[in-house]
């Protein structure tokens, strides 16, 4: 079954999502990967306000290729989320409600997501040209010096994801593999 959800995530949407669900997301997400996470969390520790208000928002872990002339963005698939794990609980504390990436999250991140009612979505790694079609607008809003790693505000329309970790303790990486292991 495929669900359509408009961002920002409402409490009832978060409640309804189950690990393994196919979801098409529309609305606004912010991109951030290794370098942007490091800088955000360092700024947070120094007491400097974050360059984007994360409360209620969704982060997408991606470092797109350069846009060809006339294009909104280059190819933009998910990168491995685990590299952001060290920084993620601090951002969930700030009200982050969702993340889009690929791959395992740490126990700490999963516990923090459960505590803060946040969802982890997986996009298909390597489907970057397909995913880019669902990105309608892109603008750099912070850390421009980081190039591909800058924070971008993306407006997305029917962006295809799967729910990896829901707020009920479901984890498709565990449940799915258990089902097909021989």
């Amino acid at each position: 079954m495929q669900k359509k959800i408009r961002l920002p995530l409402r409490e009832e949407d978060i409640e309804s999502l189950k690990a393994g669900d196919r979801v098409l997301l529309s609305g606004v997400v912010y991109t951030a990967r290794d370098a942007a996470h490091k800088r955000m969390v360092e700024q947070e520790k120094e007491g400097t306000p974050l360059p984007v208000e994360l409360d209620g928002q969704v982060l997408y872990y991606t470092g797109p290729t350069p846009a060809k002339p006339g294009e909104v963005i280059g190819s933009a698939g998910p990168t491995t989320s685990g590299r952001m794990d060290l920084y993620t609980p601090a951002l969930l504390e700030k009200g982050l409600k969702g993340m889009i990436g690929k791959g395992y999250r740490s126990e700490e991140v999963i516990a923090s997501m459960l505590k803060h009612n946040a969802v982890y979505f997986g996009a298909v790694g390597g489907a970057a040209a397909l995913i880019a079609r669902s990105i309608k607008k892109a603008e750099v809003v912070a850390y421009e010096d980081l190039g591909t790693e800058a924070i971008r505000k993306l407006t997305i329309e029917d962006f295809p994801v799967f729910v990896i970790n829901d707020i009920h303790g479901g984890d498709i990486y565990k449940d799915g593999v258990a089902k097909y292991k021989q």
Partner: protein
């Protein structure tokens, strides 16, 4: 003696960088189609369908199939009767990479050094392995190797007493640990033997062999098929969400080693197994 111009190499390398990122090879594309027929999980089928659509879009629009356009890795065979005129071979390769990644709107993913992590801005340096061979041809094999799968790769110095059972167990443990992180369905490249650094090289080299092509030694070919079956029984599936397609192929290369040693290297490749070969005469 045959002469090959520096500028010609630059142009060929530039083209290889662009083509490898836009055009998924026919071998991988048909492996996707094949997997779609056999995959048991509906989620797995949806992932494979997205990957096929993605490859079609990348090819038609000439855009990178993945935003991680990789480290440019070259395995070069230089005929000993060929002369490269006008500059150093490695410089020509790096110049071609710079042009290919720049003009091709590919992502620059290399940093100057692991301590400062500052981007070099042109995806150089390439990683270049050179082998001197007979003849007067220059053969360039290139892959754009993604970071996600490379990060989940590993090497271990086993003991001879661990035997082939120990080798298989180790390979399976690495694929399992990688799970969704390495972007399955995978191409699993394995090196057995050599020494510490040679073993890793063998694993990488194995990934240059097209999908579906078995090792010429029947015993090694059998090992590849056995590992493939065992890996696909792990249940990891496309993108690690469960399924019967975890590996699209398994490649093994092996070499002599010390009486005390049994090195094993597992170099994982994501499904964007991008490789190109050109022969310059």
């Amino acid at each position: 003696m045959k002469e090959i111009a520096y500028e010609k190499i630059v142009e060929e390398v530039k083209t290889m960088c662009m083509e490898s990122n836009y055009n998924l090879g026919e071998d991988v594309y048909s492996a996707f189609k094949q997997a779609l027929q056999t995959e048991r999980s509906e989620t797995g089928k949806e992932v494979l369908t997205q990957l096929i659509d993605n490859a079609d879009i990348a090819k038609a629009e000439r855009v990178p199939m993945c935003q991680d356009t990789g480290t440019a890795v070259f395995m070069v065979e230089v005929g000993q009767d060929c002369h490269i005129a006008g500059g150093r071979l490695v410089d020509a390769i790096n110049e071609g990479v710079e042009k290919g990644y720049g003009e091709g709107y590919l992502r620059n993913s290399m940093v100057y050094n692991p301590m400062n992590r500052k981007n070099t801005g042109n995806n150089t340096p390439a990683i270049v392995h050179i082998d001197l061979v007979e003849g007067e041809e220059l053969t360039l094999h290139m892959t754009a190797k993604g970071g996600g799968a490379e990060n989940m790769s590993a090497l271990k110095m086993l003991k001879p007493s661990d035997g082939m059972e120990g080798v298989k167990e180790y390979i399976l443990s690495i694929v399992k640990e990688a799970g969704p992180n390495a972007c399955p369905p995978l191409v699993v490249g394995i090196g057995i033997g050599g020494n510490f650094e040679r073993c890793a090289f063998l694993a990488k080299k194995s990934l240059f062999r097209p999908l579906g092509v078995r090792h010429e030694d029947p015993a090694v070919a059998e090992l590849e098929m056995e590992l493939m079956e065992q890996i696909n029984r792990l249940g990891i599936g496309p993108q690690g969400m469960g399924g019967s397609t975890t590996a699209l192929d398994v490649k093994v290369e092996l070499e002599s080693c010390h009486i005390a040693a049994l090195p094993v290297a597992v170099n994982l490749n994501c499904h964007a197994s991008r490789h190109q070969t050109i022969v310059m005469k």
